[in-house]
Symmetry: C2
Subunit: 330 residues, 2 copies
């Protein structure tokens, strides 16, 4: 982008299990109550998303009225986590749906909107909640369904990013590139094996970006995916290697990072829109800001299934959107 938008605010909120994990210290707030003080899990998720945006605004010194457009979405049917979470702000909103790739998709659209001059400030926010996702996609929690080793654990977490339009490069952490994902479907039908369903999409997007920019994996301090989990991450590195790129030294997956699988019983790792969003905002953006990282590719991955599609025997299409983040010097 000729005048890349600058990231001027971010925040991450997570639930208790995420707070107890290896990344626990990176979140702005850990909420011990799964209901976030509300009566239903859906209200809890909306409240979490609302609080995350409020925190990002507070930390940046901006007001809701400064934000010209926010891109938001989540996993719930009709994206109600975002609708009811953002209803009170009065910010023009573009609803996005990319399953767990939502933060990269929202950040991509918000960046293009800021760069186009449509608004001085734009934003992206997303969330996921373990209990709303289990209820909607899997089994009632009280049923206690068994999870195979390839299953992932939907994180209770949220992340929000605020972007500023620049009229010249002034330095700071900026969105310097992006790549819109293609739907890739190699026929995986096991909803407990989503890392395998999404890895080919992540490989497609990462390889297309490396080819288009003429860069190598070593150009970047980190190539981050979210959320392939342990199994999907191995598949990704293999698939990318087959196309001539070794990303194994710089690859980090938010699903793998979020939990200690051995002690937290999370099998293949974390998932959910909030997993990569909260680690972007709680971990990677601060490291970029502090200069410990210079340039990363943030590639959030989504599995575009629904219960209806799965019940009709459909396979699980994957998608992965990529955003390049660079700490620019004045």
């Amino acid at each position: 982008m000729p005048t890349p938008p600058k990231i001027v605010g971010y925040a991450a909120v997570a639930g208790k299990k995420e707070g107890d994990g290896p990344m626990g210290k990176c979140f702005d707030r850990i909420e011990p109550d799964a209901y976030f003080g509300k009566e239903t899990w859906e209200q809890a998720e909306s409240t979490m998303q609302k609080e995350t945006l409020e925190l990002a605004l507070q930390k940046s010194g901006l007001q809701a009225g400064d934000i010209g457009c926010i891109c938001a979405g989540d996993l719930l049917n009709q994206c109600i986590g975002s609708t009811f979470g953002l209803r009170s702000f009065g910010i023009p909103m573009l609803g996005v749906y990319g399953a767990c790739s939502t933060m990269a998709e929202g950040l991509l659209i918000a960046s293009v909107l800021a760069e186009s001059g449509a608004a001085s400030y734009t934003a992206a926010v997303t969330s996921s909640h373990f209990s709303t996702a289990e209820k909607q996609f899997r089994y009632p929690l009280s049923y206690g369904g068994q999870r195979p080793p390839t299953a992932q654990w939907t994180c209770t977490a949220s992340g929000a990013v605020l972007l500023e339009q620049q009229d010249g490069i002034k330095g700071g952490v900026c969105v310097t590139g992006a790549c819109v994902g293609k739907i890739v479907d190699l026929g995986v039908t096991d909803a407990n094996h989503m890392g395998a369903a999404m890895a080919p999409a992540a490989a497609d997007t990462i390889v297309r970006y490396l080819q288009a920019t003429g860069t190598q994996p070593s150009t970047y301090d980190a190539i981050v995916t979210g959320d392939l989990g342990v199994v999907g991450s191995t598949l990704l590195c293999d698939l990318v290697m087959k196309q001539g790129y070794d990303i194994s030294k710089v690859h980090h997956d938010c699903g793998v990072m979020m939990f200690d699988a051995k002690t937290q019983d999370t099998h293949a790792g974390g998932s959910g829109c909030g997993c990569s969003a909260s680690l972007l905002c709680g971990h990677f953006l601060p490291l970029l800001q502090q200069g410990e990282l210079h340039q990363i590719l943030f590639t959030a991955t989504g599995a575009l299934l629904s219960t209806t599609a799965s019940q009709q025997g459909e396979s699980i299409p994957g998608i992965a959107h990529l955003v390049e983040l660079t700490r620019l010097h004045v």
Copy 2:
């Protein structure tokens, strides 16, 4: 927009009931089989969306590989109408969710992407299907639930638009302006009265656009909404009038236009993402192309409810996104 993207292709496909209505002649294709030759209604909706995009590509002489990004969404949980409809094209996809406002939202994002130089061609597509919507949001069709007079009828229809990035204004029908909607919620809780839930959002967006551009309703040949229906349209004109603008002479609502309520038993009118999308592509874009219209505001409206939110007693937030379409002369 400094170099407004040009609309270089469009197509509309509709079902039998829509084809039997007063707008029947405007569609590129009317499909008499509600299943579109498939086994489930969800597969039918995906097939319809696929066929609509194929028709738009055919009519414009473009190939799927020419399209750098497509913005797509629908009413189904996790937007599976779009995912499975577009899976085979290999076009980079941004999933959007705006309920029945999806065509305006998709067109807005696709326009900004084209204008930003991200791609030479972008696209927007959406769909709705009476039977998938009834099944998901209301009652099993075989139940034969009674519909109150304020209820609307979800259209089986789809529309697709293709946009070209211009490096100078070359004339033709272009996207010359846009306004992102805000969530507006005045507390309506009746899911059979969505026109009332959405009218305040449409009023907010239209008034903000008129104020921001310093234009009057008479500036435009048509201010199109979709889909407020008969009741919501009256409310809209009243709400806008209270803020000093009389749009009654130029206002047209796609939900009102789609059916003959007296003979087609559709009560307050049509609805669904495909309603305004198919009338945009089947009716308004051809009139702009032929020079019978010069400039219109296309304001698609969405009700951001889900069955879960309604069952928890939540009200119905509305949103309306606006796109200004102008026939420019060289």
